[in-house]
Point group: C2
Chain length 389, copies 2
């Protein structure tokens, strides 16, 4: 028997990232414009690095609070008050080792092996993969796509729910589609969760990257009551250019704090204190930096989407939120092969839609959180490629 055959089915079933596959294909190529990963081109700003370095200099290198240091939990509470109008106390906030870990811990908190969780598709693939590793089954409910626009279809969500369903995962604004729930969508989903006794896991990581009239996307925080069972999972990665830091947070009822602490204890046993100090600086001093990142995203979104639409072979309305153009190129059906061909011929890295589950296979994802000049170059090359098809 080979050593692989002795591993568990759930481990063997965990898919290789469909994005990483293409990234590995082209790793190290000169002049590459990598739009495949959900990551901007800015390094972490110095005021955040400095806070981490100061913490190291002070010798903050010991075990620390499993729920997060009080300064960080308070900074999170203050951030939500400023940007979401909440008055939640710090007891509702928990620091964890990434948005991904927030999802993992949330799944462990709510599901038992054999349970089902429903998510909207196309979707960032990691939620469904994490659910299966936790022993739960991830059931997609497809968004509908019409004339370049994604929409929630509540009937499909209802149809996906069974007596085994425990949790509804809602990512809005959505990676990869850019679909952004309206307040009415959120109220409808919450009503459904209440009626069926489900938890909601709300991934509002891109809430600030919103291109509508308001300063942020609608949030479950706008429609929920304090007794609703909603776990918010979030990350410092995108707003503060901290993808490499591996720190995120959970917003959850204070009553389940001890359970979250226990799950942290038995997974990674907490987040480094000097990383948490960087996160405190990000929250307390970072509003200006986040505003710059959002403005960069908005400009680059316009450049990319307008160039693609101009080919008349791409039906890509500008997304209302998040950091991605999820584009379908007329005549390119096999997006996995297309992603390889495009990187070979243009040096632009796109993620194939096959990585994003049901409903996504014929699309490709481009992350536009980059310098508008770079995005202009990428857009020119893609235009050229598409026109030659």
């Amino acid at each position: 028997m080979s050593v692989l055959e002795t591993l568990s089915p759930r481990a063997l079933a965990a898919p290789e990232s469909g994005i990483v596959e293409v990234v590995n294909y082209a790793r190290g190529r000169d002049g590459l414009i990598p739009l495949w990963v959900g990551e901007g081109d800015s390094v972490t700003p110095e005021f955040i690095n400095r806070a981490a370095k100061t913490s190291l200099d002070k010798g903050e290198t010991f075990y620390t609070w499993q729920r997060g240091i009080p300064a960080l939990r308070q900074a999170l509470a203050d951030y939500y008050t400023r940007h979401f109008g909440t008055d939640l106390p710090m007891e509702n906030f928990y620091a964890v080792g990434s948005g991904m870990q927030a999802i993992q811990l949330g799944l462990q908190a709510v599901t038992s092996p054999g349970d089902e969780v429903v998510y909207l598709s196309p979707s960032w693939p990691n939620f469904a993969a994490a659910a299966e590793i936790a022993g739960a089954h991830a059931i997609p409910a497809e968004l509908t796509y019409q004339a370049g626009r994604w929409q929630l279809d509540l009937d499909r969500v209802k149809a996906a729910i069974t007596p085994k369903t425990r949790l509804l995962f809602v990512n809005t604004p959505s990676n990869p589609t850019g679909w952004t729930a309206t307040r009415e969508d959120l109220a409808a989903l919450l009503g459904l969760a209440r009626e069926r006794g489900l938890w909601i896991m709300a991934d509002e990581i891109y809430a600030r990257y919103y291109y509508g009239k308001a300063l942020r996307a609608p949030s479950f925080l706008d429609v929920m009551a304090s007794e609703d069972r909603i776990l918010f999972v979030n990350s410092f990665s995108k707003n503060w250019s901290m993808t490499g830091w591996r720190i995120g947070w959970i917003v959850a009822p204070a009553e389940i704090g001890q359970v979250i602490e226990n799950l942290v204890q038995y997974s990674t046993s907490g987040v480094a204190q000097f990383i948490q100090q960087g996160a405190v600086a990000a929250l307390d001093e970072g509003d200006g930096f986040v505003a710059e990142n959002i403005e960069k995203a908005r400009r680059s979104r316009d450049i990319l989407c307008e160039a693609l639409t101009a080919t008349n072979r791409v039906e890509t309305l500008k997304p209302e939120g998040a950091l991605y153009s999820f584009l379908r190129i007329d005549g390119l059906a096999d997006t996995r092969r297309a992603a390889i061909d495009i990187v070979d011929k243009t040096g632009v890295g796109l993620a194939p839609g096959t990585a994003f589950g049901p409903g996504g296979a014929s699309f490709m994802r481009a992350c536009f959180l980059r310098d508008p000049a770079i995005i202009t170059t990428a857009a020119d090359r893609l235009q050229d490629y598409i026109r030659k098809l």
Copy 2:
């Protein structure tokens, strides 16, 4: 229904750490000598901090290799060659977010919900708790205790194995008992694992903290063949005074590398590159620092154990390895209450044996990785307390 009642049974069953409970009781008390947690009193040395700070200054703040940066994997391979005489290539080494996460990922890799895993008890409580969260059942096989010495009882291990058993967890030198497997013990356990088709998860975190004649404790690396199914889980915490950094590693067959990468992807998505650079410095430049830590532990072990034995009411042979005196005080049966009483009356923090599972309830754990002068003070106070009993 309360919000707690809507959580999963596995999450609700995850125990609050029996150590943290006492720590929280006495948090912030003046003049406390905290021997309850498995942590030394040294801050991380500057050459390690400097490597992390330099990495931040270089802008290494983006997503990185999910298996660990090549420099770290190579440094791990070199470290094992120096200290364990192996010639494993870097492909056998994987960076993860703590020794704890190494255990979590290993459990996911090998077990399915409903499977069983066998561990030696008394034991650091986190392995069993992590197994239950992963959906597996943790079955203790007690070490035997006689005249101040712990021994492996292979018959008990055999008796704990059922057709559902998938993995044998062996922590040597052991936290909390100090039991250290002989080469013969390891060969016997390996033979049993081969015969029953089990994986071994080898926690040899304390291998360098060994007080016998050799420079390190016997290791499964000394007795295994390349085709044996052994996952080594390890941590930078104890050797390099990096408890607060949250970084560890796995040594595993290269054939399962993609599976480990996928499990990392869907849990924390990797370790911060600047933390990994600190770990590279620890390995490449840290042999002298580790030697100092080991010498400190040896001296403090002697001071603490000799003072306790001198009371004639503590049957505590010096442990052969690890960082703990696991002491039983004549006449103190309820160690949870005793730990509270001792911290109240002496200001010395001990961990109650109730935290360490079957066979441990009547003992208390003291971590001696501290300045010998401090340990002398703690030992004096404990002597005084015991003599007044």
